[in-house]
């Protein structure tokens, strides 16, 4: 009997590629022989656009990269410009950044957890997560006036102080959050079928993960402790007491479970940041026209998907000469083609979902 492989084109329009992403699968029955990932359908040339805008004008563009955690994208860019100009951000601003940044991380992880539940076939978990993400968005709306693309960060601080009604709402949310996480654990993580589908599927060994530059929950699921907030604390993260959850096997289940654990840790950080929120200005003394000196800076922060880096080159004018974003989703995807080989179609979805990519960030 002669058997033949066939090509299955998954995407760019497919329910589980989390956006416009295409994978060309060569299949033997249901088993993947070869996979080719084709990103780029959402490429908007943000790096090029940034070269024609002034420094503050770039901030709204960063929102559109990882639109699920826009605050963290803002932060990465702003951190690089501040490093370039040598600006000391006031303490209160740093604390506010931590609070909104961690809220953004929670929102992003909630989407990751919820959509992963859909990928595996359980639709209910998705709505539970989105129900609670709504509360985070409400909070961030109070702060910035927007629900998705916040543009809340400014070079040298943040746009506005936290409103007074923010704190009781946040307090209530943080109070509920642990029990909500228990709910997800009960509904999704603890489910036998879910575990059968994800455990020991798509294993990434730690050395390979490091070699391929994977960061964020995907790297930590393989048991590598690399969380910038812990190993190279930026901003005021060295003042907070929190743990970095690590996985053991580096499989889909670990990558998933780690995100729920990180939500719990983020809640801890926010709680401490709110308690320790100092009084003071929210903006550093920054010239009206941002004109960094000739030079360059590369800054990294820990976004919800991994290490988000920003490389800014200045030629002394009001417009950046070159901006490059190190997008964690993009680099995390680099290993996908090898990772998929030998798994079934259903596992392709499980693996891709567990990497938690955002196409806005991949394609930039």
């Amino acid at each position: 009997m002669r058997t033949q492989t066939y090509i299955l084109n998954m995407g760019p329009q497919h329910p589980s590629t989390h956006g416009v992403f295409r994978i060309i699968l060569e299949l033997d029955g249901e088993v993947v022989v070869k996979a080719k990932a084709v990103p780029g359908y959402l490429h908007r040339g943000i790096e090029k656009l940034a070269e024609l805008r002034t420094y503050p004008q770039v901030i709204p563009y960063t929102d559109r990269m990882d639109y699920l955690a826009s605050m963290l994208m803002n932060w990465g860019y702003v951190a690089a410009v501040e490093k370039l100009m040598g600006i000391e951000v006031p303490e209160r601003a740093e604390y506010i950044r931590v609070i909104v940044g961690e809220l953004s991380r929670i929102a992003s992880h909630l989407v990751a957890v919820g959509t992963y539940s859909v990928d595996i076939g359980g639709f209910t978990g998705f709505l539970y997560c989105f129900r609670d993400r709504e509360r985070v968005l409400d909070l961030l709306e109070m702060v910035s006036g927007s629900r998705m693309t916040f543009s809340y960060f400014r070079i040298g601080g943040v746009a506005d102080d936290l409103p007074p009604e923010f704190f009781p709402t946040l307090d209530k949310f943080l109070h509920d959050l642990p029990s909500l996480c228990d709910e997800y654990d009960g509904l999704i993580t603890g489910n036998e079928i879910f575990q059968a589908r994800t455990k020991f599927v798509g294993i990434i060994p730690p050395d390979v993960a490091v070699n391929y530059g994977l960061t964020g929950p995907n790297l930590r699921a393989s048991g590598v402790l690399y969380d910038l907030r812990k190993v190279r604390p930026y901003s005021v993260y060295d003042r907070f007491d929190f743990e970095v959850p690590l996985g053991k096997n580096g499989d889909c289940f670990d990558r998933f479970a780690i995100r729920i654990k990180e939500i719990r840790q983020s809640a801890r950080i926010i709680r401490q940041a709110v308690d320790g929120l100092p009084e003071g200005p929210i903006m550093a003394k920054v010239p009206r026209v941002i004109k960094p000196p000739k030079g360059e800076a590369y800054a990294e922060i820990e976004s919800s998907k991994g290490v988000f880096g920003c490389y800014v080159v200045s030629d002394g004018s009001t417009q950046p000469y070159r901006v490059h974003f190190r997008r964690p989703s993009f680099i995390n995807l680099g290993y996908l083609e090898k990772l998929l080989e030998g798994w079934k179609i259903a596992d392709v979805i499980a693996i891709l979902g567990s990497l938690d990519i955002v196409l806005g960030e991949v394609d930039c």
Binding site: Y6, L8, N9, H14, P15, S16, E30, S117, V118, D119, I120, G121, G122, F123, T124, L127, Y128, R131, L187, I188, N191, I193, F194, A196, R197, K344, I345, A346, D347, V348, I349
Partner: protein, 350 residues
Amino acid sequence: MGENLFTGIAAWMRTALLDIGTPPLLSEFIVLLVKLLAVIIFVSLNVLWLVYMERKVCAYIQCRIGPNRVGPKGLLQTVADVLKLLGKEIIVPRRVDKIVYLAAPLLVFVPPMMAFAVIPWGNGMAPVEMNIGIFYVLAVASLSTLIFWMGGWSSYNKYSLVGGMRVVAQMVSYELPLVLALLGVVMLAGTLNINDIVNAQRQVWFVFAQPLAFLIYLTAGISEVNRVPFDLVEGESEIIAGPYTEYSGMAYAMYMLAEYANMMVVACMATIMFLGGWLAPFGWTFLPSWFWFFIKVYALIFLFMWIRWTYPRIRVDQLMGFGWKVLVPLSLANIFVTGVGMYVYRAIGW
């Protein structure tokens, strides 16, 4: 009063027809036709209601309200959906096998409708009395495999093809434990006649005599109707919609509605075989027998919906492994134990 409502109507019709001088055979035939027509109309309307029920149940499980705009409490939502779908174009892609492609959604309602013909909806309310009823239902129900495969094969789409292949693999392997599970009941009842099986449960429902068979039947039954956690056929996050990928408009709706009709068949069979059919529990005969039948069927359907909106999807190799390595041996063991048990009981003179 309700007990003899439907049988009374049938008897009245028969006498009326005989009174106006119709030959007995012809009047018998006309009554049968009316009965079958009634079943078809009932099943079609019931399917609409089941879609609504599914949406409501799933909404409440997911902390939502569900359809609530069209009609009172959103009751007419499915009607509106069907009307909308009727107005949509049925797109026939260029390279599909047209005849098979269009025949599949037409035929998809046939197996469940045929199965409904022998279901006793109440005491003496089976449209067709058949002494090999169980055998007939199983034979007819397994036909739907073919129709899904027709849709998957003719669509000229790889997702449909994968879905179609999954249908065949899944349905064929779950047919076996399904039948073997029912065999235990048939052994106890000693008949293939559906009415006799129901009547054999006057003392004790077979769910208590055959608990393992009941569980196997439910699992295999859920798999037969392609519902979560065994909805690999249409696994939307993997292969879009399996065999239905290329269908649009009413052709697509036919598949979706047939799923509910099939679910109804499975629930009816479970009720008949294990839950005492139309028999009232604890002698509570203040409700008519057909009412009891529906209570049991809807309880089972609710269970299916509950499972669907709680569980994720199993993977194809796990599905096959579970079917062949767990369900088939278990159902065989069940038959063995049942046989030995019957022999022992008979030997001690029970």
